[in-house]
Symmetry: C2
Subunit: 345 residues, 2 copies
């Protein structure tokens, strides 16, 4: 587990896209964040108290989250200098950059000197096992997508919030770097050795006997020729009882691949169910999550309604409109047939 | 490239299964093998001249192939001592064990001292890229399977032999450790990072303009819940024009998983075609390869005939009966429509 509370690093950038990871943590785990760090000319804010490292420690922070993207994912001199100062102030450092903290001797020395931890969230655990596909206790939901970067993490987190609000025990299980920083643990699935993809998910979401749900963050897409292997192993390891399909209605082609079309929603649902049935023949789709941020509000609501009609599934933009419609369907499909077992209340 | 000719190591074992890798090399690349090494109480032979390391070097050997399985895949004292002696005699060492040659200081020192190479065929190249799914020139055939260990490598090699005999340019492309030792190069796909599965195959089988075929060794099975992610990425990276499905007719359940049934051949063909179509919509099945080694000869031939009737595909045991029936189908589907371009003769 990465230690909370967090202190979020924004650095000196003025590019809002480059602080995506810090923003994700602030949005979905505000209770874990005591403040933010930026330095001139950086003028970005996540609305948290701005402080220095010593003030953050005084405010209770345990870990500096380097939730910024740098050119090529490298650790530049400014980032290293700030991280070293944070270690000297008494913070652990967590980062999801391609360049690893542990490969920077200055940081390794500063961590040792201060008895602090360096956490590279792109490093998978070294004790992963091959999956076995054996049915295990507990309920699982997996978000899947027509493409990469269509809102699977956000949808999963919105579902966690909506299900908890309705009394479910429901826990987000992270498979990507931002998700891992939000959940404080998880599996960086894209960095796992190919033989262990499904096994890593079996370990991430082991048997569960409290009547609750694991909500597993999806990755990639069965229709993305670069990453469908990851998505396949994830489906098999998750053995989901329910899937939610995530879709970006304005995406013109598969991410990074102008020569690949985005699949039809119905085809994507059918393909995901077919793959999922290998380890859970009872899997059902319980909703469609659209990222409508690029659409006017009335058009967004209209599109959700039409998509629901076309697919027979509840459809919502979970970030803009909440995930309640999907939780209603989960209620119908699971809770009503298992009274008292799926709810904690 | 691993340097040939090879000298094959059998060690001191009396267990024929444990020399599977050395046997595979001797079976499929006899022209690359100058001799074999065994020591008491080992009484196994691959029918090659038995010699010591100095004699092997004198006979032209460049590389000692440690094609043996040891308990847990570790490098035991005897193996290390023999490998060191082989390095001192002037041989490179190639191995596909879980324990890496490069992690044994004595071997690293001996290799440096003698200017020789240590080749761990389970180590993927460090410069792998993410796949892009873009159509590339050349013809490709991929062997797929209803399960793991049903003869995909053997089938691919038998196809290479049969196609070459008929004048095709056809080259085996290896994705597993024994295959890599046979081909002298390749990608150990199960050890590749998840994000690079399809990209690794795109690099293994780049565009080809000589009218010839790449015959790509399959791995795993879409129906094996431990490894289907690897098989999916392999299908997408290979973008095969043709697939051959391999099957073990006496397999009672999925390998290592008594709780998983082997799929019906027809279902496995359909699922593989569906996944393959993402990167090659024109993919066709050209044959079924059965491993009939556990059946009486008449029963084997009868089963092949019945399987051909049921699937509408040529069916053979390529190791026992040759792969000509499948090459006939390749002729029909490809060569006749592309006169002069698919044959080297």
């Amino acid at each position: 587990m990465i230690r909370a509370p967090y202190f979020l690093y924004l650095g000196s950038t003025a590019d809002p896209l480059s602080i995506k990871t810090s923003r994700g943590v602030a949005m979905f785990r505000p209770e874990d964040c005591v403040g933010e760090f930026s330095r001139p000319p950086g003028n970005l804010t996540l609305g948290l108290p701005r402080m220095d490292f010593a003030e953050a420690v005084a405010a209770g922070a345990k870990t500096l989250v380097l939730g910024v993207a740098s050119a090529g994912g490298a650790l530049n001199e400014e980032l290293v200098r700030d991280a070293e100062a944070a270690l000297d102030a008494g913070l652990d450092i967590a980062a999801g950059l391609h360049g690893r903290l542990r490969d920077v001797p200055r940081l390794v020395e500063a961590a040792e000197r201060n008895g602090r931890a360096l956490i590279d969230v792109r490093d998978p655990a070294s004790d992963l096992k091959v999956g076995n596909g054996r049915a295990r206790a507990g309920k699982r939901l997996l978000t899947v997508g027509t493409d990469c970067s269509v809102g699977k993490m956000v949808t999963t987190l919105c579902l966690e919030k909506a299900m908890r609000a309705r009394g479910y025990r429901a826990d987000f299980r992270a498979t990507g770097q931002t998700g891992i920083l939000i959940a404080r643990s998880g599996v960086p699935l894209d960095a796992v050795i190919a033989d262990f993809i499904s096994g890593a998910i079996e370990q991430l979401s082991p048997e569960r006997h409290d009547g609750g749900w694991d909500l597993i963050e999806g990755q990639g897409s069965l229709f993305h020729p670069s990453f469908a292997g990851v998505s396949t192993g994830l489906l098999h390891g998750a053995q989901p009882d329910a899937i939610v399909i995530c879709h970006d209605p304005v995406r013109e082609h598969m991410r990074g691949l102008p020569h690949f079309a985005v699949p039809a929603l119905e085809d994507a649902i059918a393909a995901n169910l077919q793959v999922a049935r290998l380890t859970n023949p009872a899997v059902v789709p319980v909703g469609v999550a659209l990222n409508t941020s690029a659409l006017p509000a009335d058009e967004a609501r209209d599109l959700c309604a039409r998509t629901a009609d076309a697919t027979g599934l509840p459809c919502t933009d979970p970030y803009a409109h909440g995930a309640d419609l999907i939780v209603d369907r989960i209620d119908e499909c699971f809770a009503s047939s298992l009274p008292g077992t799926s709810r904690s209340a």
